[in-house]
Point group: C2
Chain length 266, copies 2
């Protein structure tokens, strides 16, 4: 693994700051496409309130998302700043104005159609897959309305990394899996650089699995370290990875108990 | 459970045919919002080819999707009609012109950052969640270009229901999980009714989990049966459910072996 020397750091930083989506010149005029491709995760919001009509349209985009056999395996818990503080005793992250906790939810299906065998992993997959489709649809609908957002799936205590905590605080029934919190507001960031994306030929191939190139992966990891260092000069990337290790072990235990209903002591 | 009498069937059919997304009157002029909310899964395509610039823009929307810690846990295998036939010995479903098999993919992350403990369920969740975000982004990007699509996650042999089959045919390495096939083309359907959606108050609540109403769920299931009967008058909904039961048992075994690497004989 190459070391992140000051020279490499600077070179990679320039590359990151120049990162842009590839939009075919013939399609530059397509506003919808521009909105979709230029979307960024925003982590700093102004004090401007989200109008009620925009808020309902965002939620409607969740309800209108496609799903496996139209099973709509999702639920949304919505929060104002006040409700978030009352529930979690913390401010809404990044000064966001509203938030949605997106839940994968198989409980309604199990209640209405009770002929299915126990199939916890299939149920979990259906729940996670479709709730994620709904989440992306809400995120893009917000963009269409000039409203920014960020999906928190491992940050703080608001995603699947802390599913058990959320299950307890929100009193969720079995078959309901916290996935992420989407925080919404109007962006206060003058420029949001594109986090380093893998080149298209590393993630996409024609008719066969795209075999990744180890050198390109190393390069990408250096860019990830650079982005991390640039945003948090005093933090250690490797230290952060070590912290993740403990979090992941806990998350694994908790997810298994949620998905397979392996309660301790039962 | 109420029976689907001819009277109920007709009443529910009218309701389904009248189903529309709720778009606030003040936002009717927003084209992108209209595109997102009026999107339908399309299952019949014309012979018109998808232009190359549009196709690259759709893939770029996948590459630009947000992901947990920017890990980009997805891969896309793309197909023309000919490539699909060569690979699966079958025509591309519904006369679609192009297809993408969307894979949840943790293999690159495991290769570049090797300090993580074994955490198969966390890895699977990261893979499924983020690959689904990319899938939705590609679907909406296509819509923005006037191109329709359908996501097949359980139909045919093209999604997570037959992940093991796809792993074998496509020779996928460990840590790669087939999720769905998205089939793209220009719509041949003059009208695509909205599959019966649950009312907003059943899936969304303010500050707390939305408790579903058993009567509303029963009503929704009658609508699901009606939609099924209207599309396939000679088939039995309950018979189809029984068929699913076997498929689900097989899918559960196969997914467990893929996710937890429980190979038979090892």
């Amino acid at each position: 693994m190459k070391k992140l020397t000051p020279g490499i750091f600077f070179k990679k930083l320039v590359k990151i700051l120049r990162g842009r989506p590839q939009i075919p010149p013939s399609l530059q005029d397509n506003q919808l496409l521009q909105t979709i491709l230029k979307r960024r995760s925003i982590r700093s919001f102004t004090g401007q309130e989200i109008p009620e009509d925009a808020w309902s349209a965002i939620l409607e985009a969740g309800r209108m998302a496609p799903s496996t056999v139209n099973l709509q395996t999702w639920s949304f818990i919505i929060f104002t700043q006040e409700q978030w503080r009352q529930t979690f005793d913390l401010p809404l992250p990044f000064g966001g104005k509203r938030a949605i906790i997106v839940l994968g939810d198989i409980s309604r299906v199990k209640e209405s159609i009770d002929i299915f065998p126990q199939s916890p992993l299939v149920e979990y997959t259906v729940a996670v897959l479709n709730a994620s489709l709904a989440a992306m649809n809400m995120n893009i609908a917000a963009e269409a309305l000039g409203i920014s957002s960020v999906m928190l799936s491992e940050t703080g205590k608001s995603g699947f990394f802390t599913a058990r905590h959320l299950q307890e605080v929100l009193n969720l029934p079995p078959g309901v899996f916290p996935l992420m919190t989407i925080v919404f507001g109007y962006s206060k960031q003058p420029f949001a650089p594109l986090p380093p994306r893998l080149p298209m030929d590393q993630i996409c191939a024609s008719g066969k699995y795209p075999q990744a190139d180890r050198k390109v992966l190393e390069d990408w990891l250096l860019e990830m370290k650079t982005a991390f260092k640039a945003a948090r000069p005093l933090w250690s990337f490797d230290g952060q990875l070590r912290k993740y290790r403990d979090d992941i072990e806990r998350a694994e235990r908790e997810l298994r108990s949620l998905v397979f209903r392996e309660e301790s002591g039962s």
